[in-house]
């Protein structure tokens, strides 16, 4: 999968843009994400339902995966079942 690929959640409205990825399965709401939304929505897993926030970047502990949330939803993001966490941009003074 190339950086820049857009993935949609099968369980909620979440959409992400892939910034960095490896071989694992990217999921939202507990279900694998894909470029096309499935005809039938997947059930939202209660373990992965903390929601995604627009404009936040989500990473794994090793920084091998990075996703940018471009549309928020009820599901939370994970890779192979392990929850991703938000990466906070260091606040910088506006320079341009």
């Amino acid at each position: 999968m190339k950086p820049g690929t857009r993935l949609k959640s099968a369980a909620c409205d979440t959409e992400v843009m892939v910034i960095r990825t490896a071989g694992g399965t990217i999921e939202c709401g507990g279900a694998p994400m894909a470029e096309v939304k499935p005809a039938e929505a997947a059930a939202l897993s209660p373990d992965h339902s903390n929601g995604s926030l627009m404009g936040k970047r989500y990473v794994d502990a090793d920084n091998t995966y990075e996703l940018l949330c471009v549309k928020p939803g009820k599901g939370s993001l994970s890779v192979d079942g392990v929850a991703l966490v938000t990466k906070d941009a260091k606040p910088l003074p506006a320079s341009d």
């Binding site: 404009g55 970047r57 940018l68 471009v70 941009a89 910088l92 003074p93 506006a94 320079s95 341009d96």
Partner: protein, 499 residues
């Protein structure tokens, strides 16, 4: 990754928020996205290789930037101040292009180059009408070049620097928090559209959700009026603009700048005197020095508001000197100082500034300047102090090599500028039979002062620096040649000294 994503997200989150104010007209994020999608249709249909702008900043520059991105065609704003001959050559390098702006001039200079030309109003109008809402469109995934900028060519023919979507997005996503601006925040953009700061200002304000207030051409009174009238909170200026704003504020202007929280500056060396005056005249405003290059998608190091005030208030000469530093590198880039053999230097050792990071393209149309490990040699000469503050001494190409000794013009100029009768000064290399090169100096006497004697200048340099740095030749001029961005044209000073 496509930079159009920034506008798509802003429009998704707040479609009715004001994104842009230009010539009294207001545009929402929704309006701009619809127009950019319309511009995509126009660009697709024309089958061009580039989208060029030959015009001052306006809504058209934003619509063209994002429309070109959606179409996967590089956006190439051109310097409308160029002489006919130079502009013709640049237009030829991007043919066939969709050119927005000065129709008459493109027709006259490049009528036979196959361009499609639109006057600004026509382009804007057609872009607004062309989005077939509801129809599916395959927009470009953004794997290629987003922006091509011709460098100003102060030393040689302009180079075509290219910035990929990944470089610009790397910069924005790494430094700007999405939708972080308050509804009342507004950024005054006055840098010309063909300058990297003019591009990055549009991208970062869009992603932050900060209203852009455009001033198409700089004039201090108009700047102050707009800053007050639109309750501007952020602004970016080049040093010459800052000097003229300060002049105006110090004399007759009665502008209420209470809302102006932050002024960032960059694009050239800020004289210490000017920044000190600015800090005194605007005690409530935070100043940020941002250092960057076209090839690095804008800012790579910055000196923040607190560091400005701390430096000004400090008794420690080392901390005080930081007022004229470039600050510290962004957390998202790496910076190294290297010598001519590529060896990495330690603190306070002068050499060339190298930078690496996602936002660093270091790429020209013809070749990439990156080394095997991805480092970009900036050709800027400088050093870093033991706390990581970066100092610029000038362009590496401007270094004067006298008898094998490397001398930075900036170091000599800084000393000469302390003379009360010197208003401005420029040191360049002049040919010397004995030494290969020697120091030549052009001096602008300060208004209201007697022209400083040559011997006084020489003695001043001898007493503060080494005798090798004493100017061999001094000429007096009424003014030094700067380009419109405040860049000193040393090449022209060399010509003056050669006469």
């Amino acid at each position: 990754m496509n930079i159009a994503l920034l506008l798509e997200m802003a429009a998704e989150a707040a479609p009715d928020r004001i994104a842009l104010v230009c010539d009294g007209k207001r545009w929402t994020y929704g309006d701009l996205l619809a127009a950019a999608r319309g511009a995509f249709e126009i660009i697709q249909e024309s089958g061009v290789d580039y989208v060029a702008l030959l015009d001052e900043s306006s809504e058209a520059s934003m619509i063209a930037l994002f429309g070109a991105a959606l179409a996967g065609v590089p956006y190439c704003p051109l310097n409308y101040r160029l002489a006919d001959e130079d502009l013709t050559a640049l237009l030829e390098r991007i043919a066939p292009a969709l050119v927005i702006g000065d129709e008459e001039r493109v027709e006259r200079l490049a009528g036979d180059q196959g361009h499609t030309v639109y006057a600004r109003e026509m382009f804007t109008l057609k872009a607004q009408e062309s989005w077939p809402e509801g129809e599916d469109r395959e927009y470009d995934p953004g794997g290629g070049v987003a922006v091509q900028l011709f460098t100003s060519g102060t030393t040689a023919a302009p180079k075509a620097a290219i910035l990929r979507h990944s470089n610009l997005l790397g910069y924005i996503l790494g430094t700007v928090e999405f939708a972080s601006a308050d509804e009342d925040d507004a950024a005054l953009v006055v840098v010309p559209p063909y300058h990297i700061a003019g591009i990055s200002a549009l991208l970062s304000s869009t992603y932050a959700g900060r209203r852009i207030v455009m001033l198409p051409s700089f004039e201090p009174e108009a700047w102050l009026k707009l800053a007050e009238g639109e309750k501007v909170t952020n602004a970016f200026v080049v040093p010459t603009m800052m000097a003229r704003i300060i002049d105006k504020l110090g004399s007759d202007a009665k502008a209420n700048l209470a809302s102006l929280r932050s002024i960032a500056y960059g694009g050239g060396k800020m004289p210490r005197e000017i920044i000190e005056k600015a800090l005194a005249l605007m005690p409530e405003t935070g100043f940020t020095n941002s250092y960057g290059l076209t090839e690095t998608s804008s800012t790579i190091a910055l000196l923040g508001p607190d560091e400005h005030r701390d430096a000004l208030a400090s008794e420690d000469p080392k901390v005080r000197a930081r007022l004229t530093s470039l600050g510290i590198p962004l957390p998202t880039v790496e910076i190294e100082i290297r010598d001519e053999d590529g060896k990495v230097l330690g603190p306070n050792e002068p050499g060339e500034i190298y930078v690496r990071g996602e936002q660093v393209s270091g790429e020209y149309k013809e070749r990439s300047a990156l080394d095997a490990e991805g480092w970009f040699p900036t050709r800027d000469a400088g050093y870093m102090d033991e706390d990581g503050y970066l100092f610029l001494s000038g362009r590496a190409d401007d270094v004067i090599v006298r008898g094998g000794e490397n001398m930075s013009p900036g170091e000599i100029e800084d000393v000469v500028l302390t003379h009360p009768a010197v208003g401005d000064a420029c040191a360049v290399a002049i040919p010397s039979i004995e030494w290969g090169e020697a120091v030549g100096m052009a001096i602008v006497p300060r208004e209201g002062h007697e022209r400083p004697a040559e011997d006084d200048i020489k003695e001043l340099v001898r007493s503060r620096l080494r005798s090798s740095r004493v100017p061999e030749k001094i000429v007096y001029v009424d003014e030094l040649p700067y380009n419109e961005m405040g860049k000193l044209l040393r090449r022209k000073v060399k010509d003056i000294l050669a006469d």
